[in-house]
Amino acid sequence: MESLLSLPWFDFTISGVVIGSIYALMAVGLALIFGVANLINFAHGSVFTVGSYIGWTCAVALGLPLWATVLVVAAAGGIVGALIELLAIRPLNHQSRIAPLLATIGVGLILDQIVHIIFGANPRALPVSLPNLRFSIGSGTIGAIDITIFVTGVISALALYLFLFHSKLGMAVRATAQDGDAARQMGVGINAINMTVFGIAGALGAIAGLLVGIYYNSIDPNASFEIMLKGMVAIVIGGMSNVPGAIGGGLILGLIESYGIALFGASYRDLFAFAVLLLMLLLRPNGLFARAHAREAEPMTGTFVTRAKPVRIPAWALVAGAVLIALVPALGQPYLTQVMTNALLYALAAMSLTLVAGTLGLISIGHAALLAVGAYASALLTMAGLPVALGLVLAAAITAVLGAALTYPAFRLRGHYVAIGTLAIGEIVALVILNWTSLTHGSMGLYGIPPLELFGIPLFSTNASYWFVLALVIVFALLQMRLLSSHLGRTWRAIREDTIAAETYGVASNYYKGLAFGFAGFVAGISGAVSAHQFSYINYDTFNLLTSVLILTIVILGGLGNVTGAIVAAIIVAGLPEVFRTLAEYRMLFYGMALLLLIRFRPQGLMGSD
């Protein structure tokens, strides 16, 4: 007790408020966009990163004073935000509502890649000279940086308040957030409002990027995703479209993190955020500040595209295709065979996701977590001496059970909340892997994972492992197609179309969702496990958000729910960039563009959805 009390609580409170006000700046933009466009802007973190680099350019490269830097950063962020609306969101006006969410994921990847191309992949310092002031209050101190950040946050909030409550455009923004249809009937141009809101969010997000850079004297081109998640947690606390709530949520999150770090150490920082997120989604999905009669967020089914009839491929063509693919090693190009092995492992993962996202309609953005569970399970079991064959099967079974159990909390969520929930679950898995050092060796990762072999027969030659993976793909594809045409498949689709109606007919939807995640977990677990034996080294970051996005892109390209489509698309998306070296170098750009163009021009996928 003594030692707890002697911690510098005042300093922790100050840093909590400072970081919290940065989260609040991020969250306000997300809340405005969610209110007006009913959309979670996954590109918001990338705008933050762009802001930090524009800040570096102004403050360090050009030597502008701080006030001018802030203004330039805000203006540039505003322009980037408005352009995102104009180029990526507006064209999707007539598509279902999860489409723009996926588009923002694509935009985020593209922006991140652009920053990488211009500024390189390493963090850099952002020194800004501030008066060397420190005020001592009791045992704690407040520095000029703390004050600068807090004051900038307050000024931004004031400016936003003036805009929203004392300008005509601001009034229209509020009206649109409350009732978009009614606002439209008053003659409010929704496009203009959307663009305004994206612009404001961009400006605030970019300022947040600059401030974080100043605070830590470091900017990082890979920070986008994490900060976006923090903003998202803040709006979940605050009640999604509630702007003052977002500010409160940001401050609360900042304080929780700061106190949590004080008590448990810094490596758990992100875990607090996601734990809070999950708790909120489960217990108070309308936010802490929701009034009793608050309008329930409109349900959104997982279906996000106009479904197109799946392309029926005759059986002989499927067999011919499989034979052709099986003959790839005959080309005598080991590199190509390796690339194809990798693509087929993605095909397994995509088959798994297409079942959940397509057939069942739960768009998951955390699917890489299942691969990670399978990979770690099989690696650890076989490193402890189990034969690889047994390791693979056990790993798949463990992933099946964990997959259903871990996503269980997300079963009652719908639409956007599924996306957020699965994302959070995925991140929590990664963080547990990172922090459970005694089991996983933490950030060191696992070395020396035994190579593939079955019952003493080595499979680690390039060709053997290729055929092994291909055999897995074929077996599970046949099994999945069989399931889809069975009663089970029809039940899954019924749940997707209308969960509530299905339940009124006596379908225990959670049970069927569990079955789907179990099967999907098994297949994804196998994919991850085989990858682990292939790579012989894995760490917490081997299967990350980019992996999840890639799998999702494959699934959309193939056509939601379409098994053959998932395989063909995996070969295109995971195979192509490796064959063309330049594509591999700009991988995020390629994936981002692919996702964006797909959703825009062929949302039903190559092979149609079912």
Partner: protein, 242 residues
């Protein structure tokens, strides 16, 4: 029918996906008149409103305002040209004050002085609202909300107000009151196109009426004649008119 035509719908055919909602729908709202569009549930009344406001573009046919073709024009332009709306279920901005709701009604206008003038005029017409200007619209009673919705529509300085089921969900006492208000608004020179399920109530204040059945005009005529028409009853029991 008397009076110069203000709004004309000319042989409108519209669809939701493959489903046709309007079949050669034609109707006319003369200047300074109250026209009533009657129809049961799902007969296409609200879609008519959406079509007039440019929120839904018909596959064929035209919407003419004072002879000018406004079919599928941007809503802002149509509102500016003189059509305001009292949406189905009122759709006030519940978290905003009454004053802000009224100002939203004038959103497309830039003439500040004239807006201020209309604001005063509207409050004279609805004195009850004057005491409630700072109250959140969502906290008012149904009848008061209907007043706000009408006042908001008037703030656009319209030539025509389209009202989608203005008496829906109101107590009988308030229905009379709202119909009175509609007549009052009309006396200021504004035409009204009123969509209603409640035939006898609406026809009492209307000049002319149309009966919409499954997207077709099944019956039309001066309100007085329709009121006396036994087939009106039939229409409301959902039976087909011979």
């Amino acid at each position: 029918m008397t009076g110069k035509p203000l709004l004309v719908l000319d042989r409108i055919n519209s669809f939701y996906g493959p489903v046709q909602v309007h079949f050669d729908l034609s109707l006319t709202v003369p200047e300074k008149a109250i026209v009533c569009l009657l129809g049961g549930n799902a007969s296409g009344k609200s879609t008519t409103m959406k079509t007039i406001l440019g929120l839904k573009t018909p596959q064929s046919g035209h919407v003419l305002l004072e002879g000018r073709d406004i079919t599928g024009a941007p809503t802002a332009e149509i509102v500016r040209a003189g059509i305001s709306v009292v949406p189905e279920a009122r759709r006030l901005f519940g978290e905003m004050t009454v004053r802000e709701n009224l100002l939203m009604g004038a959103y497309v206008r830039a003439d500040k002085a004239a807006i201020a003038e209309d604001y005063d005029r509207v409050l004279e017409l609805f004195p009850r609202l004057r005491e409630r200007l700072r109250q959140k619209a969502g906290t008012m009673s149904g009848g008061e909300q209907q007043m706000v919705a009408m006042a908001r529509a008037l703030m656009g300085r319209p030539k025509l107000i389209c009202m989608d089921e203005p008496t829906m969900g109101l107590s009988p006492l308030f229905v009379d009151r709202v119909l009175e208000l509609i007549a009052t608004v009309n006396k200021t020179g504004v035409s009204v196109l009123m969509v209603e399920q409640n035939a006898s109530m609406a026809l009492r204040i209307a000049d002319y009426g149309y009966v919409l059945q499954s997207g077709r005009i099944a019956l039309e005529g001066p309100a007085r004649d329709l009121l006396a028409d036994p087939r009106i009853r039939t229409a409301y029991l959902g039976e087909t008119i011979e």
